[in-house]
Symmetry: C3
Subunit: 354 residues, 3 copies
């Protein structure tokens, strides 16, 4: 639905600068926007890209120099641009579909009002689901799970027995909640699996990424605290207790029985060993290998993980180590001369300098 | 079902120490057990947590000082505690469901006695399944697979064509067995995939974690040896041959054509390159990057992986490297003075010391 | 179907060296081939394994010394051996099955000629699918996706709304395309998710591995360029733009808004941070942690990733660092003696040498 710049300015409640009659046909980011499209600039450093852009107009924050390009100035660029995108590409109206006859729903399951169950989903015995929850196709809910209201389970999510899911939780496609923990003891040369009597409890407002796995506790629950967000392909092992409002990025692995405080951030591909505690607001930088407790507020980096200031000094020192070795060899030779020694006899230093 | 401490002691066959009439309502681990619950203490170092615990009683091993808390003393704490947990939270009696009419089973598939096939599972042409095997909902078994007896395939597992699965194997939800190997050759600027004629063979008593992927061999099988246990989100590439009773932790990646002996342990996030051999009982510490053969019994750490004693010396030396650089600069200056050189002229050492 | 060496030589168009009447019953790789089987040798360094092999004959390239073993000599060993394997283990003839009545296909979806939809697949409203495409069981295609011709979606693949899939693309089982990006801003102590208005666009001839996840863009598309091949368990974050003919190995993670040129190679478990560019034909070695742009043609290694020559010098220097520390301490003592200082007073150097 084409529209004018003036109409769009009214729609997003912004300050129009330029010709209100300009016709717009779409909204795209700076690098791909074509003629007839509006783009966004959320930071002064976008000014140069904006000059090079083919876009006909821009939604910009007040501190951006738009270089004369027609603009709509707003305080929250992303909210306004999202409105513009939705104007040009309206959401398909999704009708509630109710309980599909092609789903498999146990007669002992209890579903609240306005629960949608898409074709090909399976809901086991004794499951309880709160109102306004959406169960997409291919979701497998095993017996005795308890699911809150306003929850979204995207296609092919699997919940093992007894999983608890809080209100407004979003679980993305292919995530697996409640599989057995990886704990064995060796008896007569064979690995015997430990007890698998616990479950997983996910508090309200948690989001869980695609193909992420969270294992059940041994005797009690593995816990994900309120408001915590977990990205794709993350592994949370048995008996872990994550606090509230953590951000756990993609491909992180947290080993068994580890706990975190609130507002912890783990960047991509971090690994945390078992039985440690990560304090409130700690930050684990990407690819860190964490083998000890981390104090509240601390930022760590590297493997083994080290407070970030120290870690950066170490990395800088390693980068210069080959040159330091070269100079070290020169010093060895000079010192040997001062001492009247023959370097040729000093096989150790030759080896070191090789 | 509430019970007394005395009844519980008889149930687990343990030695009662304290008031047999104490009423118990549940069983939980030390950190979460409340009043009226029994907990467990499997090691003398739990004594302090035990003192702080609200639990009414404890199942303990003989070497634990229970500090006067009523206790049941047993040699195998975990077995006894599992019995207690199951007493308070009995397992749902799972009835065999037979072949669900909502499953899709090829008329040419051959199923043994007492095979359960849950709603929404698909079983392809020519598949053979042994007795007492459970196929959960959403499992996809492609043509010509051969599956043993007593196997459990959890929801949404996928087996590509010709996969062999031994007796008593457990495959967790979302695991993908038998996808194409990642092998290409470049022809006229395009990547052409190599032959994908092999399959995956999984021996008896193997367990495979959630969302783990094992690719098929090029011409023959990728092999997982008897009793080997694999955690979640692990990647085993084409043509690998894992030995028996390995433990492969979460997010490990093993590249193509690599083989392992028996009782190998790979900790979390290890990567092993292609075409190497990891000997019997070798241990690859977490996050190691293994680019060479590892000898039987060897423990390696780091990336590139190094025998652990050496790796720890290197890590300790790197941790002290910034201080060593500082002292190195002092020595350079002292030596230059001894030699009557002017440091100002020695641009190299300035650079190094910067 | 047993056959003679002579018949097989004719079948693969190769040069027979040995007794044409030898009876063969199968084809296997060198390490597992038994008597009566033919094997392959694609490189002169296979001569020794060949001598030890029980195989009755070999398909070999002209430069291999077959040590007298009956052979078929061909220029392209792998093509010829694949033909032999297929001769002994013919492919099951897969009949097109059409649209299974056990699939759930929206009445507003448009399917081209000869599209197969297996039992238990779901196809949403407004989806378009080109001719000769195969949708395996358990695939979930959400509304408004557009899929090309000759595409294969293996079991349990999930495509979120509006995903674009080019011609001849192969997506392996359990891959999740189009889940929400992991972008939040904190408001009043809670993480609010950013806009999720974009989609994923996959160009022609791309292959995507099992359980790989590719997130949708914020406003526009996340793009995978033509001919790019992605292995299993890979994470491609929101707004990424991968170029053409990249090879992305298993367990790689690429953070948001990062772009690549053409023919980029990322080895296993590489991590690339957000908002960087990896130039044409760059190579990121396994486990690298890439936090800056990488120039075209450059090969990097390590974390932080460094040009490979430098990275190898650094790794070699670190390996020798413990010995260098030992010698450093000796030099400190010698220098202190020359300067007439007492080492006992020099607590710094003691600490360093500890």
């Amino acid at each position: 639905m084409p529209t004018t710049l003036g109409e769009l300015a009214r729609l997003v409640g912004g300050d129009l600068r330029g010709n209100a009659a300009i016709q717009l046909t779409g909204a795209s980011t700076i690098d791909v926007a074509g003629p007839g499209q509006i783009t966004l600039a959320d930071h002064p450093d976008r000014a140069r890209s904006l000059l090079a852009s083919l876009a006909a107009a821009v939604i910009a924050s007040p501190d951006v120099d738009c270089g004369g390009k027609p603009s709509i100035v707003v305080p929250d660029v992303h909210a306004a641009f999202a409105t513009a995108v939705r104007h040009f590409r309206p959401l398909r109206i999704v009708q509630r579909i109710g309980q599909s006859p092609q789903a498999s729903i146990s007669p002992t399951a209890k579903l609240g009002a306005n629960v949608d169950v898409h074709p090909g989903a399976s809901i086991g015995d004794g499951v309880t689901i709160g109102p306004h929850t959406t169960i997409h196709s291919g979701v497998r809910i095993m017996p005795d799970c308890v699911i809150g209201s306003g929850v979204t389970l995207f296609p092919n999510v699997v919940l093992y027995e007894n999983t608890r899911v809080g209100d407004r939780v979003i679980v993305h496609a292919g995530a697996i909640i409640g599989a057995y923990g990886f704990g064995y003891r060796q008896v007569d040369g064979r690995h015997l699996i430990s007890a698998q009597l616990g479950n997983v409890e996910i508090a309200a407002d948690v989001e869980i990424g695609a193909a992420t796995t969270i294992d059940r506790g041994t005797y009690g629950p593995t816990v994900i605290g309120e408001g915590t967000k977990i990205d794709n392909l993350v592994m949370i092992a048995h008996n872990c207790r994550l606090g509230r409002h953590n951000l756990i990025c993609s491909q992180v692995g947290v080993a068994g029985s580890t706990s975190t405080g609130d507002y912890v951030v783990m960047a991509g591909q971090v690994g945390v060993r078992d039985h440690v505690h990560i304090g409130d607001r700690a930050v684990l930088c990407s690819k860190s290998g964490v083998s000890n407790n981390v104090r509240a507020g601390e930022e760590v980096l590297g493997s083994p993980a080290t407070p970030i200031r120290q870690a950066k000094l170490q990395m800088a020192a390693v980068a210069k180590l080959p040159e330091m070795r070269r100079q070290f060899r020169i010093m060895q030779r000079q010192l040997a001369e001062l001492l009247g020694e023959s370097l040729a006899d000093d096989s150790d230093s030759n080896e070191c300098a090789a």
